[in-house]
């Protein structure tokens, strides 16, 4: 009967360990909850928020305007074709559209090229451009699909015109006209169209039809050109996205452990020994903060250098901006790490609580899963995480090619995080170090 007693003892010990219980049950539940919310959404939210679409109409014809009106009437899309310039509404041009996408204010925009209506009338391909931030490939695909669907559904003549044009090209002028008239009669028979009234049917002889293996009468009536506005200079553009997220997440883990070393030193008596030596509490805490911050800066430098060497990440785009981001991120992560350590009693507790906080914050803040695929409300929550601001700053540099002045908001938020958490942590530790 020894084994049941030993098992009972282990359960008893487990029940006494709050951190063990949290690690076993709460952490998996919370992480599952977060990922569930990201991928599944809560309460019927299907996860995709309304898409804000910039439109530049270089054609400015009735047909192009009709297309814009139709797109604007769709629930999934909100069209922006003008912008405020000196308090007046100005029609959007390509430069302004591209600049907004590069800044991250918009994800995607379309440009209707001049000759759009003319091409429609002539059965030529309708030429459009989709300008987008490649991070938002999902939004790009949605817009592409919606344009194709709208044109095909609401302007079926586009397909017809294109088909007739192809028929004329491949079958020759005479045969093509026979085909066109036949098609018009068929359409008239089943659907009834005004255009087909009075058309004569002329059947071409079978032998006269060109035999061409490449003949594709249906063709593709729409020519959409994709214009990636960001990340095109990067050899490995997506690494720029992930390096920031992963760097911040692992930095948080390492600085929290470094902060916990203060607890170890308190528990093994070395802090007490220091305090009876000619050393003050503030000196001990300041030294520890500096150590953690220096280590954090070093860790980020190593990681970005690794990114440069292995993934060809261009870290030399704006060195002052990158160094500023590295320093403030290192400081903010250190402050949060030492704060987590300050609210714990021992290393074991630090491990479990930091796992919960860091994984949760990393998941919500975009370190694990790109924010772009998250529902709108999670994107709002993300703004309350350190990861979000750190990643925003780094991606602004690497991805959007922005400069020091542009990343000031990220620098300010991260500095505030540093000040708040450092103040709280030092105040807690100041008391804690003197506890028996």
């Amino acid at each position: 009967m020894t084994i049941p007693k030993l098992i009972k003892k282990d359960f008893l010990l487990f029940s006494k360990s709050i951190s063990g219980i949290i690690m076993t049950f709460a952490v998996p539940m919370i992480i599952t909850l977060i990922f569930g919310a990201i991928f599944g959404g809560f309460g019927g939210d299907n996860g995709i928020s309304e898409l804000r679409l910039l439109v530049v109409d270089d054609d400015k014809t009735d047909f192009s305007k009709q297309l814009v009106t139709l797109l604007d009437s769709l629930d999934a899309i909100k069209i922006y074709s003008t912008y405020k310039n000196d308090e007046t509404n100005t029609v959007l041009n390509m430069e302004v559209m591209d600049s907004n996408i590069k800044k991250g204010s918009f994800k995607v925009g379309i440009r209707i090229l001049s000759g759009f209506e003319n091409n429609y009338n002539n059965g030529e391909k309708l030429k459009l451009e989709i300008h987008y931030d490649p991070k938002f490939i999902i939004e790009y695909n949605i817009v592409n699909g919606i344009i194709q669907k709208t044109i095909m559904k609401d302007f079926p003549q586009v397909m017809m015109n294109s088909m007739f044009k192809n028929a004329r090209e491949y079958l020759g002028s005479d045969q093509g006209t026979f085909f066109e008239n036949d098609m018009n009669k068929t359409i008239e028979k089943f659907f009834g169209t005004e255009d087909s009234e009075g058309a004569e049917s002329q059947t071409p002889s079978d032998s006269a039809i060109k035999q061409d293996d490449n003949f594709n009468m249906m063709g593709d009536p729409i020519d959409i050109k994709s214009v990636e506005l960001l990340g095109v200079e990067e050899e490995n553009p997506y690494f720029a996205q992930y390096v920031a997220g992963m760097a911040v997440m692992f930095l948080l883990f390492s600085v929290t452990n470094a902060g916990a070393s203060l607890l170890d030193e308190k528990n093994n008596g070395t802090i007490k020994r220091l305090l009876v030596a000619p050393v003050t509490r503030n000196q001990i805490l300041t030294a520890k903060m500096f150590y953690i911050m220096i280590m954090a800066i070093f860790q980020l430098l190593v990681l970005f250098t690794f990114g440069w060497l292995v993934f060809k990440l261009n870290i030399f785009k704006d060195i002052p901006a990158l160094l500023s981001m590295i320093i403030v991120t290192a400081f903010a992560c250190s402050a949060l790490g030492i704060f987590i350590a300050s609210i714990c009693k021992n290393q074991h507790q630090v491990s479990s609580i930091s796992t919960l906080i860091i994984l949760g914050m990393s998941a919500l803040g975009g370190s694990m899963v790109p924010l772009m695929i998250m529902p709108a409300y999670i994107k709002k929550i993300a703004r309350f995480t350190l990861n979000y601001w750190a990643m925003k700053g780094f991606t602004d540099i690497f991805w959007r090619n922005l400069h020091l002045k542009d990343i000031v908001p990220s620098l300010i938020v991260l500095s505030l995080i540093t000040i708040v958490f450092t103040t709280i942590a030092l105040s807690i530790f100041n008391k804690k170090l003197m506890e028996k």
Binding site: N268, G269, T270, R273, L275, V276, P278, M434, K436
Partner: protein, 308 residues
Amino acid sequence: MIELRKITKNFGNIQALDNFSFDVKKGELFGLLGPNGAGKSTTINLLSTFIAPDKGEIFLNGISHKKATLKMKMSIGVIPQEIALYDDLSALENLQFWGDIYQIPTKELKNRITEMLKMVGLFGRRKDKIKTFSGGMKRRINIAAGLLHNPNIILMDEPTVGVDPQSRNFIFEMIKGLHQIGKTIIYTTHYMEEAERLCQRIAIIDQGKLIAIGTKEELYKLLGDSETIILELSKNLDIEQISHFFGNFIISDLSENKIKIEGINLKNNLSEITTYLKRSFINIEKMDYIKPNLEKLFLKLTGKELRE
């Protein structure tokens, strides 16, 4: 040299020290003896300036603790009860760190480290990590770290806890050596034998209160003339019956065939006891005369064992 005046220290609802006073002369090896939780470590923490008293005042070399200066901290060497060392650093690296903290000049520190390592008998292991050391070795380096800056006052908080007899003897010899060169030492322990063996004067404390203070001899006198004999007998004895015959003594059953007899002038009455046992056809297999000791004094003054 060291003076504690009416010190009271509370930790929440727990009173660690209550109106506690004693003084230690320069060059004295002074013992603080008491069970766990008696207030020994609190006294060391107060003396080392780690904590401040709630009431009362402490003087070191005539200077109040309230005016604790860097110079005062430099004059104290603390050997904590914990092994306050960095496990992943070598003995040498640990001593270099603690020497740097005490601002010992580099050249002098190098000599002091060599001196200390030789004193604790671990010069040969100086490059080994602390975590590879035995408990006794760690204790010795722990002592060396507290003595590097050559303090005049040494506060040792149970420095032999958990060490093997060999290391314990080594530490005792080291303490005697420090005493011989004129260091003032306060040594806390809950081992009566250590206090008796090492200390010139001993303060016995319990539950934060001073129970008795003096030299060994002065403390033994507090026991009075009471003597103790332990007899191991050939067979079991009826305690009630023998107690009836020798009413002046306290006779108690220790274990099977083993009795303890306590009383004044016991030696002179021993022949009567042996005669009584012979008549009862009981032989004395073994007889131990227990000398007066601090354990007995503690029992007498507090009504409980020292190691409780």
